[in-house]
Structures are given as C-alpha cells and as structure tokens.
Symmetry: C4
Subunit: 208 residues, 4 copies
C-alpha cells in the first residue's frame, strides 16, 4: 500500500477485469452463431430437397447450443467467483487473460466439432478447450483464496463449496473426452449432467 | 437469506444478467450486417450491369432491417421487464440463457431467410426463431411475477399490461408463419403491425 | 407521470439507450476490419510478387480508416447530444433505433466501397449511408429539444451550436456524393474537412 | 470552464472513452479467433490424415495466442493510464481514436501473419501495427501529462515509471521487426520478454 509498486497497481480493481470478461463472454457466445454457417444451396431445388440440405445443419445447431450453455455455465462461475473476490493483483489478471484466451477460442473449437465431429481428434480439441478453461477457473479461485483477495467475511464452507463446483466442468470435460473415444459427439450429452451435479453439491452444503 | 444455498446465489443480481443481455443484443444486431454479404462481382462490368447485380441484395437488406427492428423490439421488452424485476434466482438466469440462445441465433435465421426466402422452410425457421424468443420473454415475465421477483409496489394493471404486450411478438410471428405459407417473404410485413398493437394496448391500460 | 402509460415507460432512461449505442458503435467500428479481408495468395510467390498482391489492399485500408473516423465522429456527436438529453420517450428510442440501423450498416457499405470503389454506384451507397445516419442524428437533437427532453439549464446558444455541428456530417456526405460523380474515391477526402468545420463553428460560438 | 467552447466539451469525461476502449478491446480480442479459420477438409479422410491437415493450423494458433497477449498488455497499459488521467479534451479523444484504429486492425495483421508468416513483408505489417499502437499509447500519456489532465497528486516518479513501461511495447516491436529479417515468425518470441522488462522497471521504481 505504501510502496510505489503497489500504488502503480491500484488501477487493478476487479471491476475492470469484470468488464473485459463480460465483453469477451458476450461476444464469444454471439460469435458461436457464425460456426453454423449457411449452406451453399442452389435456389432451384424442390422444397423437400432444400429441407434435406438444411437437415445437414443439425450437428452444427447441436454443438452451437451445447457451447452456448457451457459458456453460460462458465459465465455464472465467473460471476460467482468475483462476487467474493474483492481485490486484484497482476497475477490474478494474468490468470484471467489466459482463461479468456480459451473462452475466446470456443467459437473455433465449436466449429471444428460441428464440421468434423465424425473425427475423434475434433472431440479431443473441443474437450481440451473446455478442460483448460475449467482448470483456469479453478486456479483463479484457488489463487484468490490463497492470496487473501476474497471477502474476509467468507466462511470456510463457502470456499469449499466453490472449489467443488469449480471442479464440475473440468471433470465433466475429461469424462466427455474419455467417452468420446467410443461414441464421439454423443459424449457431449454428459455436459447436461453438470447442472444436476451442481444442484447436488449445493444441497449438500446448504443442509450441513 | 440465512441458509448457505442462498448466500451462494447472492451474486445473481439482475444487473449482471442485464450486462450480458445488453452485450448479446448489441452484438447480434451488429452481426446481422454480415448476413447481407458482398456479392462477388467482376470489376470490369458496366455501371448498369453492376447496379443490376447489386439489385439482387434487396431481399437481404429488407430482412436485415426487419430483424434489426424485431431485435430492437425484444430489447425494449427486456428493459421494460427488468425495470420491474428487482431480484434474480438461478431459474431466472436459466430462462434468460435460453432466451439469449435464440437471440444470438437471429443472424443465422436472418441469413437463411435473406438467402433462401423463396423456400417456405426458410420462413418457418425464421418465424420459429422469433416465436421461441418471444415465448421465452413471456415465460420470463410470468416466472418473475409468480416467484415474487418483481417490485412489490407494482400494481395488478401493470402486470397484466406487461403480459399482454409480451404476447404481441409471439402471436405476430405465428401469424407471419401462417401467412408465409401463401405469400412467403411478404408475410413479414405483419411485424410492422406490432408497434400499432402495442400502442392500442398502452392506450387501453392508460385510460381505464 | 401519474397516468399508467407514463409509468410503463419509466424504464426508458437515457442510460439504457447509451449502453446499446456504445455497444453497437464499438462492434461496428471493430467489424470494419473484416471489410479488408485477406487476399488469397499462393504461398510460393517471391517476396516482391507477394508485396504486389498486398498492394491491392490499399483502397480497402483507406476506406477502413475513413469509416473508422466517420464512425468516431458520429460517436462523439452522440455523446455530446446525450450529455444534454436528460429524459427519453418511446419516439426518441425509435429515432435512435433507426440511427443504429444505419450505423450497423456501415461495415457493409464500407466493404462495397473498398471492393468496388471504381463504380459510381458504390460511392452513392456509401455516401447515402452516412447521409441518413447524419440526418437521423440531426432529427434526434431537434426532436429532443422540441419535446423538452434536454437539460433545462441549456442556453439557446448551445442548442444552436449543436444544430450547426450536427449538420456538418450530412452536408459533407452530400458534397462527397456530388464530387464522387467526377472523381470517385478521392471525393471522400472531403470528410477530412469536417473537424476543421467543427473547429470554426466552435470558435464562432465561443467568442460571440 | 466559463467559456462556451469548454461547456460544449464537458461531455468528454474519461469514462466515455473508457467504455469505447473496453468495447473495442474485447471485440478485437475475440475477433482474433476468426483469423484461425477452419480448414476445408474432406470428411472421408483417415484419422491420421485429418490430424495432419489440422497440424497446419499451429502457426495460426500461435499468432492468435501472441496477439491475444499483446492486446491484453495494451489493455493493461490503457487502464493504468486512465487510472491517473482524470480529465479529457478533444485532442486526447482524437489520440485515442487513432490508437483504437490500430487496435481494431490487429485481427487483420494477425491473419496476415498467421496465413503468410513465411513472407518477411507479413512480419513487417504485424510489427508496424503493434509499433504504431504502442507509440500512440506513449503519446497519449505524454500528452495527458503535458496538458495537466492527470491526477494532481501523482508524483514525478510514477510519471517517469509510466513513461518507461509505455516504451516497452514499441521497443519490443521494433526489435522483433529487426530480428524477423533473419528468423521470421520466431522473432515474435521476443514479446515474451516484455512482462520481464516490466517487472524489472517496476522493481527499480519501488526500491529507489
């Protein structure tokens, strides 16, 4: 507080990070739509032939919706974390920049999965993208707790609760990665379990 | 308020949702412009031949303007709702995420309509996109009223007024869907009636 | 204030419009970069052959910079206006939605001009886009003054000053339109005169 | 403060600039992902042939990450500057508009570098883009100090510290430009030195 180095970092309020985070989330979620793409269809087809061509878009629409929900899950996690994180420092910003790098990458891995979901490699890319984003969220929380950047009035139970819920997405992405070895795109249905898992953890921590 | 589960959800202020909503609306409305696209024209045409090629962009410009106005209508509805909604909860956020999924999808269905408006299926896709977004706005309001998340000082008349106006867009999109069976793209002119309908409802509720 | 209709429109604070406006401006200005595009060049060219190919990007870089500055000019005008506009109403929002429709269209007309600047029609499209945006800014200010939505303490001189400066961009775009009939793309250099014109008007009104 | 010209520029609070800056940074950082692009791969390849095709994306992923980190560095610099800059004026806004022009251009020069990194010219374009952005950041700070737009309580040491750190990025980009003459893309690894340089300067100024 008294030395020069600190006064120079005074600008690093959490609100500044949150603005960048909110912006990048909103844009990444909306850019996902570009991953669907418009098929190049001759305009002289019959109605049913046209429908058949559009039918090919289903896997892309599915991955669009999937990524949208995963990103909204990350966004919730971020807001939950920064509700308790009250101070910032250069290292916390660096963690968040790395995290945003993977968030901004989601439209890319979504397009790979939507376009080439029949390859195992595409599934690996998608799941690793989610896994690294999830792990960085976990690191963000651990670091903030470790460095005492969180609200002083937070109790131990909440800290542990946050740790647990922050582990859901990385674990689910690893599970999806393993299962995708056998069933490819269907493996992503596992993500639908994450809200259920979160509810279970929430219940456990609210009844103890 | 006193149990852990609630304190964990304290971060869910409505302002957080509004930031995401505002961001996604602004981006979706601006991304619409990409649906117009630039025709691939040889640069050695005569001026009139060039104009003829550009002329083919009219349906796309029309659907661009149409979607822009529909999205601005949804945006107004959202701000009207959140002027009264004072608290949030996980389910309300989930409703809004679903809603934003359809808002972010509008540039896609707009491009389908602008490019392949001569197919009935394109009209169905566009109208269903608007219909689901509209229904989710309606559900959002109903849920917020049901769970008591709205301002306590709101009177019954305002609640009913909001319900009515929130029904305009889903109903208009269903009408457009029906009419589009006969006249395709022209059916969208029905949307121009929605501000008139809103005015009528507003007048009714302000004079009683 | 006391009737239902008004209480229903209470949400329409100017801050809500400003958020949407700021978002759409930032996105439109950044999307302009997509209008430049990356040429499709074989990767086995000599260095000088590669440079020659890139050279073809100059007109696009020029129109990118031009549109960026024009949009930043509109953005300044908007903030200047809303510094004085204190209240909002449904019609003001409608004017702003129309205005934003033309702002969001700028990446399209910029790409047309950058790609097909050798056609007179492209210049007409670009100038008309700027002209309509400029006229709507002018209407926005006139309407706000007429309906008493501006700060009560604003003096007559400031109102007239704003009217004058708001006329610069529409007039310049008309001039550019006229000149472009003879010299095409070079006509856009006229826009560089607008800051000078603004300075002159500012000086006049600060010395009287 | 008392003359008309000043009252007309009262809207130019720094918060307005910061909103535009934050928006353009978030969008430019997320648009970078479009520079990666999805390869056009036949869907009937073997898994290993598919992997080989994807392998070609590495230089693009590398330049994506590089530009993301450079932009995040500029973003930090901007927030550090505006923590101390308390007032604004038309010239400061103009400097920032020029600066944003180069920030919004980064997705373009990133795509050039990712796609045609084997040409020296691509490296020149990329490094010059970063250099001009860096120089404008430096000018921004110098101008703000010169015109007394910064916090009155700022001490000389902080001003000099800021000057020094603001020089890191332009100098590093010039170094990268020089080195790229010999080793092309690898030259960009020099950017990884900038956090280290910043740490050194920070340490120096906190121990004196």
């Amino acid at each position: 507080m008294s030395d020069q180095s600190n006064s120079i970092n005074l600008w690093m309020t959490t609100s500044r990070i949150e603005t960048l985070v909110d912006g990048i989330f909103a844009i990444a979620m909306t850019l996902l739509v570009l991953s669907i793409g418009i098929p190049d269809i001759s305009s002289s087809l019959s109605e049913s032939a046209f429908q058949q061509q559009l039918w090919a878009l289903w896997p892309k629409l599915f991955t669009y919706a999937l990524s949208f929900f995963i990103l909204s899950g990350f966004w919730r996690m971020n807001h939950q974390q920064f509700y308790f994180i009250k101070r910032s420092n250069p290292a916390l910003i660096t963690i968040n920049v790395f995290l945003l790098l993977f968030i901004a990458l989601v439209p890319f891995s979504t397009e790979i999965l939507g376009e080439y979901g029949n390859y195992f490699t595409s599934n690996v890319i998608f799941q690793l993208n989610m896994f690294f984003a999830g792990v960085l969220f976990y690191i963000n929380w651990q670091y903030a707790v470790w460095k005492g950047l969180v609200d002083e009035n937070i109790n131990e139970k909440t800290i542990t609760f946050m740790k647990r819920t922050n582990l859901i997405l990385p674990i689910v992405s690893l599970l999806a990665l393993g299962v995708s070895y056998y069933v490819y795109a269907w493996s992503n249905l596992i993500y639908l379990a994450s809200p259920v898992l979160k509810k279970i953890i929430e219940k456990k921590y609210s009844t103890i």
